[in-house]
Subunit: 415 residues, 2 copies
């Protein structure tokens, strides 16, 4: 079942209860052949295990059997939205992630600074992992670009990534990416193409912007800011043209008043803002995230708390690092318990097995702890244990109903 | 899956097999903190346990994750109807429960006799749990009320509860309750308000009826029938205005010819009649219900057999009483087995944990016994065992398909 589709049938009450949705990005894993144990099974996690013992457990399917999800859509599912109904583009997530709001006809797109050779082939899609402060300077220069009848809003995201909003009448987002998602001597940026007739004007705006941006980025001024190796010069690649997301807000769906997000990475703040959450700003440090949670917890009905490290380690194929990140998180779990939330969910948005080096479709361990749990004998937060839990194997889209029901926020349904 | 939505794709055959759907209202529970055992885990239930060993088991989700259902909608789900598609109002359940039938434009509403103080504040929503025989006398008096162009049908339900049908052209049921669902010096009955423009006329009919009923109930004649304490006088509260239910009958859905209901409480007979069941009248005594089952079993393809006590004990927060009720039911189970039904389902409509003192969302233990079961090693009818059963955690709306399939009533689906 899909929480946001069931919700309109229900009556919610604000009983003052507090919910924490704790998402360990990419936490699910696969066994290392030599030990037969996954990352979670390898990690020493006494605190998470205690929560598993107290609560109810299960395994959640991120979006569909066999389907590895992107981060945005995996979080939408956890928030209770049907991932096959609601489409939120990469550009929109980036825009909301840096605090921008989109208007009705806006198009947002992610812009990466990249390294090109003299023949304009794409050599480095990340411009040597450009530092954020250089990105800020480059964005200032790109703000000089003027296109008739179109307002252009440019913001730095992180490292080599920024975001652009095109604002103007008649813009439609059905556009192909210029990013070829490959590099090499023979790989060139694509021209942005309109995928529907109504997007022709938007395609010409995007191509004009890209041309002018690349001109600026080839200038001497830029070469003084960023030194590129092997005769490369900077350019931009665009990816994920998106219109304004049209999702019902979680407040309206679930009768929650104040919902906050604590996430160090902008994209998670973006997806959270799109569904109505307030950003509680934090740094990249795990302890700092917990400090923020303690500081602000009392202001919110629900806090979505996101930690990133396990996913990155999984993507890098670094099993030991993923184990270490999980153990570090576990050490901080008592701080979460001390807040005495009425309901806590601990899970991941998807699996990122270190052996697989990427997001995967595998189901994800899930714990819910609350006053009205019927403990199910599961004593460890890991794949082999949680799959025997009383919630069984279920869709991530059901998690919000479990959270709200457990927190006493759903009225008895009908006579 | 939803049985009534799958059924139109299937071919059913009447092979003469007999099914019993045995519903122990509110049977699911939560552990008592000091023992860690639920009501079912505490109760000595050798007979139910023997059925669990013989059959297949699982846990059923009443209507949706996290959602505690009312009794009507929980039974509709067990009968295979989508609880979010079919809405049966409280008034209609009450009307069908006392044997009334509704016509196309009828509105039915539940009417409670209540105690008011001299300032017309609601002091006792149950009029001191008015005895049924007094209720009968009061209803006779209320039948004197005449409203132009509207036929008024009044019947006693039980204790302080009765039901009224308004019959006439142009009546629509989108009306608010007059019952404030609270009591106290400052709590007054609400005026019935039309929730949609088309219901204005119905609102005026309802308010006229309430005014005239309250006038009669203040009379000396009534004071001679019912003596109210502390200077209170009687009045009525109305709740759950409903139109005629429009559900496909179980006969048509599932190819069953004769379906019977044995339930001591009127509301369960009501919801059963609405889906096409014949009432097999019985008293409030558990043994009497079993007597009726033995007497009439051979006449029916399916009997829905409802026992109420466990739910009431759970609502009262009386853990020991709920255990006792379950043990009493268990003692009678051999009488059910002696009938040799082809398929028996034993489950609850929802959980009513004594610690929670109300209907809850927790999944409910489920047993199906039939000739073609693949026993799953579960040996006790309780939460911690049945959740390891081979049916897993499933939606109550699937139960009818399991019952019909197990009884050999569903033809092979397609080539």
């Amino acid at each position: 079942m899909i929480s946001s589709e069931i919700a309109p049938h229900l009556e919610f009450k604000n009983n003052g209860s507090k919910i924490i949705l704790f998402v360990i990005d990419g936490v699910g894993g696969l066994p290392l052949p030599k030990t037969g144990l996954t990352e979670l099974e390898t990690a020493r996690t006494p605190n998470l295990d205690r929560l598993a013992s107290k609560g109810v457990t299960g395994m959640s399917i991120p979006v569909a059997p066999g389907v590895a999800p992107g981060s945005g859509v995996a979080h939408l599912a956890l928030f209770g939205y049907d991932p096959f109904t609601y489409d939120v583009g990469r550009g929109a997530i980036a825009a909301y992630g840096v605090g921008l709001d989109m208007e009705e006809d806006d198009i947002a797109v992610r812009v990466n600074y990249a390294g090109f050779n003299s023949a304009e082939a794409v050599i480095d899609r990340r411009a040597g992992r450009l530092p954020t402060e250089k990105n800020v300077e480059l964005c200032k220069l790109l703000r000089k670009i003027k296109i008739h009848d179109v307002e252009i809003i440019i913001e730095t995201v992180l490292d080599y990534r920024s975001v652009v909003i095109f604002r103007g009448e008649g813009l439609n987002p059905d556009l192909s990416d210029s990013d070829p998602q490959a590099t090499g001597e023979g790989v060139f940026p694509h021209r942005v193409v309109s995928l529907k007739p109504r997007s022709k004007y938007a395609a010409s705006v995007a191509n004009t912007f890209i041309r002018e941006a690349n001109e600026i980025l080839r200038s001497k001024e830029v070469r003084n800011i960023v030194e590129m190796p092997n005769g490369q010069h900077l350019g931009i690649l665009t990816r994920g043209y998106a219109d304004r997301p049209k999702l019902p807000l979680m407040q309206h769906l679930y009768g929650l008043e104040n919902i906050g997000v604590i996430a160090s990475y902008p994209d998670y703040r973006g997806i959270a803002r799109i569904v109505g959450m307030d950003v509680i700003y934090t740094g990249y440090d795990l302890e700092g995230e917990f400090d923020k949670l303690e500081e602000t917890f009392h202001n919110y009905d629900l806090v979505f708390f996101h930690v990133k490290g396990a996913d990155s380690a999984g993507e890098d194929g670094n099993f030991d690092e993923k184990v270490r990140v999980i153990e570090d998180i576990d050490k901080l779990v008592p701080r979460l318990e001390e807040l005495s939330p009425d309901t806590v969910i601990i899970t991941g948005d998807h699996s990122t097995p270190a052996t697989y080096k990427g997001h995967s479709w595998h189901s994800v361990p899930f714990i819910l702890v609350g006053k009205w749990c019927r403990p199910d004998g599961v004593k460890k937060f890991c794949e082999s244990e949680c799959r025997r839990g009383s919630l069984g194997l279920f869709q991530a889209t059901e998690a919000m109903l479990y959270a709200l029901g457990s927190a006493g926020r759903i009225d008895k349904f009908r006579a």
